[in-house]
């Protein structure tokens, strides 16, 4: 949850009133650790910039309508700026138009918004990030063999981008490998564990598994462990979290792609403040992604973007 009462700024330039400007941030979720990390970054930056924020998102990444309702409710509070991670950017077009009409600057984050309303986008290129995972997968399995893919969601933009990025990466960069039918575990670790086990059951010669988010990856790890194959199957994950980091250190997971969620949150607030002040912004703020494994997990650069 964000800070308490929003600043009563009648206009978009809330800073002029002397009170703290209020920035509403609507994300794609709030329950998962990734979003908690984004929120943390946003709150830290807000404290630094002396603004108040609220941070909310629907319970799951398929609740497009719920996100619309949050957008309209936030509009009632007349924020000085909006940070927005769209579940479906076209669906939001109308409401964003209302924000524009009310002169409220919009900063997109996490994934692009298909519209010219957002002043800038602070996002990870999920496709490129997943392609990077595919590159490492190919290397680690020696360029051939069966690879399983467990994705958290087949309809959300992140889920699709990571899936497609990985599949494209494998197709173009790893022609010797055979990628199995993609399975979806909803990010639920227990479900993903069962999926991984069943994949291994049906394909005992699997060489690698890619888990497209933390829940999928940690679940896959459980499945591999329950099959007593820990360390024998190349497992690549996404994002951080204690379980993944421990597994990488222990060698049961080969490595993972991490984004910079804390940085993403911070950049979003920073951009919003700049927008309130009328400063110009770059069209895209790439918050980046990085590959990490046993070798670099303790480096300062990686440590800075991981969360437990």
């Amino acid at each position: 949850g964000g800070t308490t009462t929003p600043a009563a700024s009648g206009s978009a330039s809330g800073s002029a009133s002397g009170e703290k400007p209020y920035i509403a941030i609507i994300s794609k979720g709030f329950q998962h650790q990734f979003w908690q990390a984004v929120k943390l970054g946003a709150e830290q930056e807000a404290a630094k910039q002396n603004v108040t924020i609220t941070f909310e998102g629907p319970a799951s990444e398929s609740e497009v309508e719920a996100q619309m309702n949050m957008l309209t409710a936030a509009l009632q509070k007349k924020p000085a700026a909006l940070g927005f991670a769209a579940l479906d950017s076209k669906a939001a077009a109308t409401v964003l138009g209302q924000y524009k009409a009310a002169n409220i600057p919009v900063i997109a984050f996490d994934s692009g918004v298909d519209s010219d309303i957002p002043l800038t986008t602070a996002a990870t290129d999920n496709k490129a990030a997943a392609a990077e995972a595919a590159k490492h997968m190919c290397e680690l399995i020696g360029g051939s063999g069966k690879v399983g893919v467990i994705v958290h969601d087949q309809t959300s933009k992140t889920g699709q981008d990571r899936r497609d990025g990985f599949l494209d990466g494998m197709k173009t960069g790893c022609t010797g490998a055979q990628v199995l039918e993609v399975q979806y575990g909803g990010g639920d670790q227990a479900k993903s564990a069962d999926i991984a086990k069943n994949m291994l059951q049906a394909n005992p010669d699997i060489k690698g598994i890619f888990g497209a988010n933390e829940g999928s990856a940690v679940g896959a790890l459980k499945g591999i462990q329950e099959k007593n194959l820990a360390g024998k199957v190349v497992l690549i994950g996404f994002d951080s979290g204690k379980a993944q980091m421990d597994a990488i250190k222990a060698g049961t997971m080969a490595g993972a792609i991490t984004q910079n969620p804390v940085g993403m949150g911070a950049k979003t607030v920073e951009a919003a403040v700049m927008a309130i002040k009328g400063q110009t912004l770059p069209k895209v703020i790439d918050t980046g992604f990085m590959w990490y494994d046993k070798t670099n997990i303790d480096s300062a650069e990686i440590k800075a973007v991981l969360y437990e």
Binding site: G1, E56, S62, E65, N69, A73, T94, Q154, T155
Partner: protein
Amino acid sequence: MSTDSNVTTAAKGVRRGGLREKLQQLMALLGLLIIFAAFSFASPTYFPTYSNVISILYSAVVIGLLALGATLVIITGGIDLSVGTGMTLSAVMAATFIVTWGLPVWLGILCTLLFGAFLGLVNGTNVAILGLPPFIATLAMMLVAQGLALVISKAIPIYFDPVAHSSYLWLSNGELIPSTGFPNAVVVLVLAALVAFVLLNKTLLGRYDISIGSNEEATALSGINTKKWTMIIYSVAGVFTALGAIMISARLGSAQPATGAGYELQAIAAVVIGGTSLSGGKGTIVGTIIGALIISVINNGLQIMSMPQQWQNVILGLVILVVVFIDQLRSKRAATT
């Protein structure tokens, strides 16, 4: 004392020309107003504004429409778990008809409503003819519809063209009465509620609905074709679901193949908050609409108050408890006086 209160509550109460029932609805409305007033007090600047009231109404539309259909089904003593993903599938079909096949908007809408009726008919057949428990029949439909929505859409949202299908989008976002900010979706909900009200209170369908819900076997022995009517009622519920599908896809400008799961519980909650009994035989349309509004007001109000999100569910849960409890108390008291 258990028996005493059991029997004595049962023992009490006369229906005086439906006066009590009207009173009961008035009280539910009062509950809604109290919640509204509380939020207005907590956030006087942002909550009780014209535009926020419209936000509230707008966000009640889809759940409201689904709940209307669910009311009719629940009154038979059944339940419909498929309204959420059934809506999703119907929305995908609407987009398929209009976007993929290029049917004219009016025809696409008609086909979608028919498709909804078909889904309902399948539920009704499974319940009435195959004799499956409604929970299972509609749970199966929930799973099947969820899967088919993904299959048909290839798990990708289908977008309406803002120009070519502007009339479709207008159904939700447009304003019949210009520059009032009053979206058509709300008008649709009101009209649908009226239709449901007439169906339930003035037609054979409504009479057989409550009769089946009160005692299906006795109704059948009275010479009513209860199977036929059960199928009709589920089909009509399917039409309301399809209407919900049209409204949500018109609002979002697209058919989202993954939304919808979870809507069924909200819709059923709205129905029950509105005073309809899950054991059948009893229910009102006005109550259902009030139930949907109560959920919508609470969600909106807590967001406006910037309540930390994890607390929102806690409070929603508690408020539902309190509202239904008071409703319960009141109807008990009303019964004793």
